[in-house]
Each structure stands twice: as C-alpha cells, then as structure tokens.
C-alpha cells in the first residue's frame, strides 16, 4: 500500500515539476499575412508569420542582436566577399535536407523582381554555393550592414519551389497565382498546417527542428486576425484569444484591470516626425509669397520649441510614447541618449525667433497627416496645430488615409503640388543609421521630401555605406547627425511604444520591432 502511495506521489510530483506540457496559443492582430511567399511582400504582419516557419542565414534575437541561424559562422575574406559556413543536419518541413544551394537560390530569388526584397539587398552582386555547406556572397563594394540586411531574407527549398511553379516570387506575365503564396515549406520551429487568409492560420510544432526547443512549450499556434480594435479587445477579455501584439492605447487600462490579463510595453524602433520643406523657393499652401519661411533655420527652430511633447504624451498618447530629440530610436546604431534630449518647450522663444526671422505675425500653411497608419496619428496632428497656433503659425490640417497620404508626400497631389509640411514615421529594420540617411537625408533619398541637400552629408552617406572600419564609420555617422540635428531638418515628435496584451499565464517575450518569436513563448 505504502509503495503504491509512493508511486502515486512520484507521478503527481513529476506532473508538477515538468513544465513541458503541450500548449496551444491563440494569437490575434488586426492584419493577416498578405502571402506565405517569404519574398513577395516586405511588410510587417507578413514577415511576422514567415518568421515562425522560415529561417535566414542570421536572425535578430529577442533584443535585436544578430544571431547565427542557418549559418553557423562566417568570415569576410576580402572587402567585398563573405563566406558562410552552413549548419548541417537541417531539414525542411517536407523532410528534404538543406544545402547551401537552397540558400543561394533563395537570395537570388529575393533579388529578382517582382520580389519585394529587391531594394533591401541591392548591394549583393552574387550568392553562390561553393560546397554543400559553404556559401559565398559577393557585394558591390564593402557592405558593413550586410548581416543586418540578411536577417530579412528567408530561405526556401529550391527543389520545392521549382516543383511547385514558384521559382520566381510572382509571375505577373503568366497571371498565375502562386502555390507558394498559400503554402509554406521552411526550416523553422513551426510549420503551417492550415491556411485560410484573413480567417485562420494554424501552425504546429516542428518536431524535427534542428534547434533547441526547450525554450518554449507551444504545440500549436492559431493566428486569428481581428481587424476591429474593440472586437479584438473583447475577444481577449472573453478568453477567445490568448495574445495580441497590437493593443489600442485607450484599452490598455481596461485590460490591465482585468485580473486574468497582463499588458507589456517596450519602446519601438519607429519614430514619428514632421518634415518641413526647406528647399522649395515658395511654400505651395502658404500665404507668404516670394520666399519660403522654412528655408530659415530660425523658423524651423521656432516650430520645434512650440511643441509640448510631454502634453501630447499625456493627453493624446495616454502615456504610450517616448518624446524624442532625434528621428531614430534607441537601439539604432548612431542613436545616443544625449542626441535624444529634446529642445525645451518654449513658445515665447518661438515667437522671438519668428520675429527675428521676419515673421512677427506668423504665417499660414497646410499640414499633411495620415489618419490610419501610426498610433493616434491624426490626433497628434490636431494637438500640434493647436500648439503652432499659439505662436502665430496658423496650420490647416489635411488628414487622409495612408494610401493617399504617402503617395501625395512622395509624388505630389493630383495637381503636382508637393507637401509643405507632413507627418512621417520611420522604422529602422537594420538598426543602423545608414537606413535613415539613405532614404531621408541624402539629396537623392527617395523619401527626402523636405528637399534637404547638403554636400557633406551626401559624402558621408556614400562613405558610411562602404566603410568597414567600425570606428571610422561611427565617426561618420556622428558627424552626419551633428549636421542634421543642428539643421533641424526634421521635427522629431516621439518614438512609438509597443504594447502587447495576453492572458496572465501566457508569456511571449516583447521585442522592439513588435515581432513575436513563439519559439521563446510559454503557456504556464
């Protein structure tokens, strides 16, 4: 009898001790992955899904540090050549083995239009398998951020892609819909077993994964997209979903007050700012003719000092923002806390600066703002306009849906008029300032719509793109920030904040780019 009780107790205790019981997790976010083809769309939710089933040479860890994934080690054998040693024993979900030629195939596929990853890896000249487990990548000139860029390139099986007609990421001419858009075959810790777009996607644990899966106890993930904010929060509170990585700021307190739920928060690698057209001869929407108020740095400074970002953080963002002094977020190479110190809120100084610059009565213009892209974007613009009014600058708001806003900022409106002042947010997936500079500050930058042009900055951007000596490179980045911060090219507002909500027994580590890694998640 005693023996039986002992055996029984041992069994019960082992049940308590082992935390590896299988769990399933229901995940929701507003949008769904647009396609399971890992190279077809360079978009947030799409990559979030691909990240669970596909892998790359390297990958960002929980704290965005670069970790080896399909590559075990690598070496730069010359200024423009890298050799990667590929991990052995890795299998795709269909059972076939991974070799370096699959990786070469994937990189070339990602480089070929109509892949959406083409621009990201423009600097890669060639990717060749020099053995079953060695890969050589040659770049156009030295590329110090190649690894950062490679974290976004996923590896597919060459044989599987060719056998299923998706050798190229989408074939417009044939007008076909690609098998790879609705099926996935990766090397990752989860595989997709069911896919109904915008309704339900089911991932199951890959029991043949090469990696260490003791970091999680998830057997199954169900992605159930719910577009409407209120419905998603209701579904979380009613227990129908377990975890969401997009939480509307007005519901954070409500969720926190529910005893079975928790909310986690972290700063995001996306910064919101205003662009002021300083290069045009005249502002299109302004009452000032013959000259451009924004061409004068004092006017730009005046606009900066007029903004009270703490008030906006408090009233508009309900505490969910980090006021910024620089248009790139903590964690990005080039960012320093000193640079992130905002200039003080000082409307009196603003009025003085405006008078000095020759605008004692202020002036008028239009602000272009999206209303459905960034967190509380339109509300921020409305609040800012009130603050500008106090210093005499009368700003009219033109808020519109993101598809129209971005096309107008980029290409001008229907009459070809460019924007005088606009809101923009910039995320930095490579965590390096070069990404910000090449798009926003370079004279030829495709998103430099403030018409900022500085020869020294252009020199620095070109140089930092190919400089492999880290110290020299960081000095270039620092000099570039010195110039542009002094110039007040852009008006920094704040860094966005990521919020994630879940049931209290569900633990998904929160990350700066809001991309959940379920291979580190646990349900207790």
């Amino acid at each position: 009898m005693k023996k039986l009780i002992n055996i029984f107790l041992v069994l019960v205790m082992s049940g308590f001790v082992s935390s590896s019981y299988a769990a399933s997790i229901k995940w929701s976010m507003p949008g769904d992955s647009l396609t399971l083809d890992p190279h077809a769309q360079n978009e947030g939710p799409t990559h979030m899904v691909s990240r669970q089933v596909y892998e790359g040479l390297v990958t960002p860890g929980i704290n965005m540090e670069i970790l080896p994934q399909l590559a075990e080690s690598w070496d730069a054998t010359s200024a423009d050549t890298w050799v990667f040693n590929i991990r052995k024993g890795v299998k795709f979900h269909d059972g076939s083995s991974l070799t370096a030629s699959d990786i070469a195939f994937s990189i070339n596929r990602a480089k070929t239009a109509p892949s959406d990853m083409v621009d990201l890896i423009k600097s890669i000249k060639s990717a060749t398998a020099t053995g079953d487990h060695t890969l050589e990548i040659v770049t156009e000139g030295p590329n110090p951020i190649l690894l950062n860029q490679l974290t976004q390139i996923f590896v597919m099986s060459e044989a599987w892609a060719k056998a299923n007609g998706c050798e190229v990421s989408y074939n417009w001419d044939a007008g076909e819909t690609s098998y790879c858009a609705s099926n996935a075959n990766g090397t990752g810790p989860f595989k997709i077993t069911f896919r109904e777009q915008d309704v339900r996607t089911v991932f199951e644990k890959n029991t043949d994964w090469w990696g260490d899966d003791s970091t999680h106890n998830i057997d199954q993930i169900e992605l159930l997209p719910i577009k409407n904010d209120a419905t998603r929060v209701a579904a979380l509170l009613s227990g129908e979903i377990d975890y969401t990585n997009v939480v509307p700021v007005q519901d954070i307190e409500r969720i926190k007050s529910s005893s079975g739920h928790t909310v986690k928060m972290t700063p995001q690698n996306r910064t919101i700012f205003f662009g002021m057209d300083q290069g045009s001869a005249e502002l299109n929407s302004s009452n000032i003719k013959g000259k451009n108020p924004f061409a004068d740095k004092r006017v730009r400074l005046a606009m900066y000092h007029a903004l009270d970002m703490d008030a906006i953080k408090d009233k508009v963002m309900r505490g969910q923002s980090v006021p910024a002094g620089i248009i790139t977020a903590p964690g990005v190479n080039g960012h320093t806390p000193e640079r992130d110190q905002r200039l003080p809120y000082d409307p009196e100084l603003s009025k003085k600066l405006l008078a000095e610059a020759g605008y004692p009565d202020g002036f008028e213009l239009t602000l272009d703002c999206p209303n459905d892209r960034y967190i509380n974007d339109e509300a921020i613009c409305v609040a800012a306009i009130g603050m500008f009014a106090k210093i005499g600058v009368k700003v009219n708001l033109d808020a519109k849906t993101k598809s129209q806003h971005f096309s107008e900022v980029k290409e001008g409106d229907a009459n070809g008029m460019t924007s005088d002042m606009y809101m923009l947010g910039w995320g930095v997936p490579t965590f390096d300032s070069h990404y910000v500079y090449s798009y926003l500050f370079d004279s030829a930058g495709s998103w430099n719509k403030v018409n900022f042009s500085n020869a020294r900055v252009d020199e620095l951007v070109a140089a930092m793109g190919v400089e492999t000596d880290l110290e020299k490179r960081n000095a270039m980045i620092a000099e570039a920030w010195d110039i542009t911060q002094d110039d007040v090219t852009y008006l920094p507002l704040h860094h966005q904040v990521v919020n994630q909500a879940s049931k209290s027994n569900v633990d998904v580590p929160i990350r700066m780019n809001n991309e959940p890694l379920f291979r580190f998640a646990n349900v207790n």
């Binding site: 621009d119 990201l120 858009a181 777009q197 419905t231 129908e240 598809s403 129209q404």
Partner: protein, 310 residues
C-alpha cells in the same frame, strides 16, 4: 450596368496609388516605373476601359494587387459568408418585423405596442457598429455564451461553405445577423403597421367584419396579404442595402465576407477587388429588383387580371 462598369473602371485612375501599396515604402523609383508598366497603367484610358469590359464579361476580374490571387476566386470564397449573413438578417427583419408590425397595427395604442415602437427606434438611430459592440460586450465578454468574432466551424460543400450545419456556425450567426437586421426590422415594423392601419379602415374589411368572418382570417389572410406589396418592394431594395451595410457588421464581427474583403481592398487601394465588388453589388441589385417585379405578378391578382384582359 455599363454606367457602373465605367465608374468601377474610373476607380483605377482616381483612387490613391496602388503602386505604393504594392512596392512598399523603400522601393526605388525605377521599380515603381517597372510595376506601372507591367500593370498597363501607362496605356490610354479607352484602351484600358475596353480591356476592362472585355475581361469582366468573361468573368475575369483580374488579379488582386495586394494578395496576388484571382479576384474571382476571392469573391467566390467570400460570397457564401455574406449571402448567408444577409439571408438570415433579411429573414429576421421580415418575419419579426411583420409579426410586430401586424401586432402594433391591430392593437394601436396598447402598452406593448408603444414599447415595441420605442425600442425599434433604437434600431434606426444607433449606428450599426455600436449595436454590434454592445452585443459583443454583453454576450461574449460578460455572459460568455456567444462568440465575439468569426464564422465558427463551416462545412465545405465544394462551391459553397455553410455555417448552418454546425452548432458553432449557428452560434456565430446570431449576433451579426441581429445587428445587421435591426435597421431593416424597424422599417418593416412601421411600414406594416401603417399598411395595416390603413387597410383596416377600408370598406371591404368593414364588410368582412359585418359578415362575421373570423377576426384572424380578416387580419392575416385578407388585410396582411394586401399590405404586403409595399413590404416586398422595400425588402427588395433593402437586401441591396443589407449587402452594403454588411461592410460594417462584417468588420465589427470579423465576418469573412465580401464586405470585409472590400474594406481591406480600400485600405490597400486594391483596385481590382474594389471594382469587382461594385460590379457584383450592382448586378445583385438588378437581379433582386427583377425578381421582385416578377413576384408582384404572382402576389397581386390585379396585375395578372390586367395581363389576361389584354
């Protein structure tokens, strides 16, 4: 239909820029020009329009810019969800609306009648999404007895997916169809009530009563049947409106129907889906009103008699 086709087609030229959505923020200018060329966005307007109409007639609505799948496939997948939802909502609106309309028409000033009329006002004055959210809050979050989103388990019948055959499918239909039907229910109640009140004053009803015919026979067989014609007309138009309003209900309840497909398409400026949706809806309107006209023939003997005497 031609006019609708032309308006649909004009969407391509005037609504936002799909190239931006398709290529992402950091695509180069050459890439954008390339995509423009491939999509045929540089051809003159009349060529693009004739290409468009030719394709539509063959059932080819093109390929979604964002999802890169055939639009006709997408519509085929989503149509059953919307049609089932609209069907159930229409039935609710008609059946409950008629019953309550008759009751309030017959018992004009009773206490219950007044309550019904006041509550039905809520159906018209409260926006659909508020009703939806309130129902979700009450039945899913607080009571936890109905699902807050989705269609539940659906049975795949090949060309159609139905939620009628599973319990979770039926449960999932309840809140969205109530939300969608309230607006129309109010109209039906008031319309039937007005019709009943008017008909009950007519001579032939008075004579029927004088003749001693059973009250229920009078109310339902004679009065109601005659009062139904305007209801049928309204319902015909309403079903079109239900399909249009379903956009909001589908968004609130994450119902995977044509409405939510359309809203996502607007968001991403996915013009092939938007124009296909417009054409489908116009087509449904035209078909339904055609059916309504035919139904008149069978319900109203006067029309039949007129035909025969000609």
């Amino acid at each position: 239909m031609i006019v609708v086709a032309f308006v649909s087609f004009s969407l391509f030229n005037f609504v936002g820029d799909p190239v931006n959505s398709m290529t992402g923020e950091d695509a180069s200018d050459e890439r954008r020009a390339e995509v423009r060329e491939v999509l045929g966005l540089n051809d003159p307007v009349y060529i693009q329009f004739s290409r468009f109409v030719g394709n539509i007639v063959q059932g080819n609505f093109g390929i979604s810019y964002q999802l890169k799948r055939e639009v006709s496939d997408l519509i085929g997948e989503r149509l059953p969800a919307t049609l089932e939802l609209v069907f159930v909502s229409a039935m609710l609106a008609i059946i409950i609306g008629t019953i309550l309309g008759v009751y309030t028409g017959i018992h004009r000033d009773s206490f219950l009648s007044n309550i019904i009329l006041v509550v039905s006002l809520a159906g018209v004055s409260l926006p659909t999404f508020i009703i939806g959210i309130m129902l979700i809050y009450l039945f899913s979050v607080i009571l936890g007895i109905l699902p807050s989103f989705g269609r539940g388990e659906v049975t795949d019948l090949g060309f159609w997916t139905t939620g009628f055959l599973t319990i979770s499918g039926l449960k999932a239909l309840i809140l969205p169809s109530i939300t969608l039907s309230l607006f129309q229910m109010t109209y039906v109640i008031r319309l039937v009530r007005a019709e009943m009140m008017e008909i009950l004053q007519t001579d032939y009803i008075k004579f029927a009563r004088a003749r001693g015919i059973n009250k229920n026979t009078i109310n339902y067989k004679h009065a109601l049947k005659n009062g139904l014609i305007p209801v049928i007309t309204i319902t015909g138009i309403n079903i079109g409106t239900l399909i249009a309003f379903s956009i909001i209900t589908e968004t609130v309840f994450q119902w995977p129907g044509m409405g939510s497909l359309f809203i996502n398409a607007v968001y991403f400026v996915d013009i092939p889906i938007m124009s296909a949706y417009m054409i489908m809806v116009a087509f449904i309107f035209v078909m339904i009103n055609f059916i309504v006209d035919i139904t008149y023939y069978f319900i109203d003997p006067r029309i039949r008699l007129k035909e025969e005497s000609n």
